[in-house]
Amino acid sequence: MLTKRLIACLDVRDGKLAKSVKFVDTKDIGDPVAKAREYYDDGLDELVFYDITASSDERRIMLDVVEAVAAEVFIPLSVGGGVRTVADATDLRLAGAEKINVNSAAVQRPGLIDECAHALGNQNVVLSMDVLRVEASAAVPSGYEIVINGGRLRTGRDALAWALEGVERGAGELVVNSIDADGTRDGYELALTRLLSEAVRVPVIASGGAGTPEHLVEALTEGAADAVLVASMVHFGDYRCSELKQALADAGLPMRMRW
């Protein structure tokens, strides 16, 4: 049986691990390679690296991190942050990333999704979207608006419409990150993940807000997500990956429990 996935997201700035709270005031929490290895050994199903440096002259550092992780961690590895061109995506793939996440650059130039899908195959292109809850309007009928540049810039674009367009253009998976919930540990934005997951036929990963194992269970049931992304709750040692997976399995969800 196909299992649900536990994914950990490691934000990397200048080659070091960082975790943001509501996208401001980031603080260093360690070495990304060691952390990746620790999670792999503890049963994590997939890793996402997000490069929050994203200034082009620093990109080499990220490629080195990806390369080092790929040499010792044998689960799918997804990398995003600052991917603006197919060349960026290809560099990351060669360094060892399985999947490439596109975000802000795709909002600004949607053809990037088509180009990456053509070059890497749909299944390797993940559309990562940062979403803000707003008053429903003619421009944003779902009441969820796409924001970019780490949540700083509102785009006036409807999240549901963007998800559908992204999949149409070739995204093979969606990461749905709630800006409202991010870093709060109050739980995922369940209505949002459910809305998008039911609208598309590609897997949807719930992101932002996880604080307890119950939040993960909710995202995979009520939120209809195919996978859950965690960060703070494992980075700061509150929970172990294996412990979270056990809690999900105990709740009756199909999980990979042997590693």
């Binding site: 049986m1 044998f74 195959g121």
Partner: protein, 218 residues
């Protein structure tokens, strides 16, 4: 010095496969050179991407012929994902004639349940259908990482080594003589996947399954 070649035909990131081989002590060279392939004594035939363009590259470069030759000479060959799918006669993807290493075809998933996601992406367990040296010591809870929208339907059910289930059971590992193919990405399947690669690295290419016996009789 035994030489393992990972066939490079512009079909995805082969370095993941190479790294996983290194992890289990198998030094493997990535090569797009048919002459190099003809000297290989162990071959890994991976791949992601589209069947049509993959076949065009394999035929144009002469890699397809070199692969068939080495396979005929008894060299152990491991197909992974697209490398498995194009080992059959035909793929529904782009209506493409494929390598005919094993009789059968590759079809697209069609699900009765409209909410099922495509591709079949994530970790899934296997149901063993017959023993094979490369799948030895598999535990029923070992899960492997899959990403695919097409699946293989071998003509002879006796080549099926294992099935996975995504709404319906489908063939996810097949073996015929010195060829073994897996649908999942064994290089990204944690320790279970590495163990499979290690067993392939140690395999002499002999498989006495029902299909192997039948083919030797001809």
């Amino acid at each position: 010095m035994p030489e393992t070649v990972i066939v490079d035909y512009d079909a995805g990131n082969l370095r993941s496969v190479q790294r996983a081989c290194a992890e289990v002590g198998l030094a493997a060279e990535i090569s797009a050179d048919p002459a190099r392939l003809r000297r290989a004594d162990r071959i890994i035939f991976p791949g992601v991407g589209q069947a049509g363009s993959a076949m065009a590259t394999l035929n144009r470069t002469g890699l397809a012929d070199a692969l068939r030759q080495r396979l005929g000479e008894g060299v152990p060959v491991l197909g992974i994902c697209l490398g498995l799918q194009i080992s059959l006669d035909h793929s529904e993807e782009g209506d493409t004639p494929t390598l005919s290493l094993v009789a059968g075809e590759t079809r697209r998933f069609h699900f009765a349940d409209p909410t099922l996601k495509v591709p079949h992406m994530g970790w899934n367990t296997l149901s063993l259908r017959q023993p094979h040296p490369v799948l030895k010591d598999l535990h029923e809870d070992d899960a492997f990482y899959f990403v695919h929208s097409y699946y293989t339907v071998p003509q002879d059910p006796a080549v099926v080594l294992a099935e996975a289930t995504y709404e319906q059971p489908f063939c996810c590992a097949l073996g015929k003589d010195n060829y073994v193919g897996v649908q999942f990405h064994t290089e990204k399947s944690g320790r279970a996947g590495l163990a499979l690669l290690a067993r392939f690295a140690a395999w002499d290419g002999v498989f006495k399954g029902a299909a192997g016996e039948a083919s030797r009789a001809h």
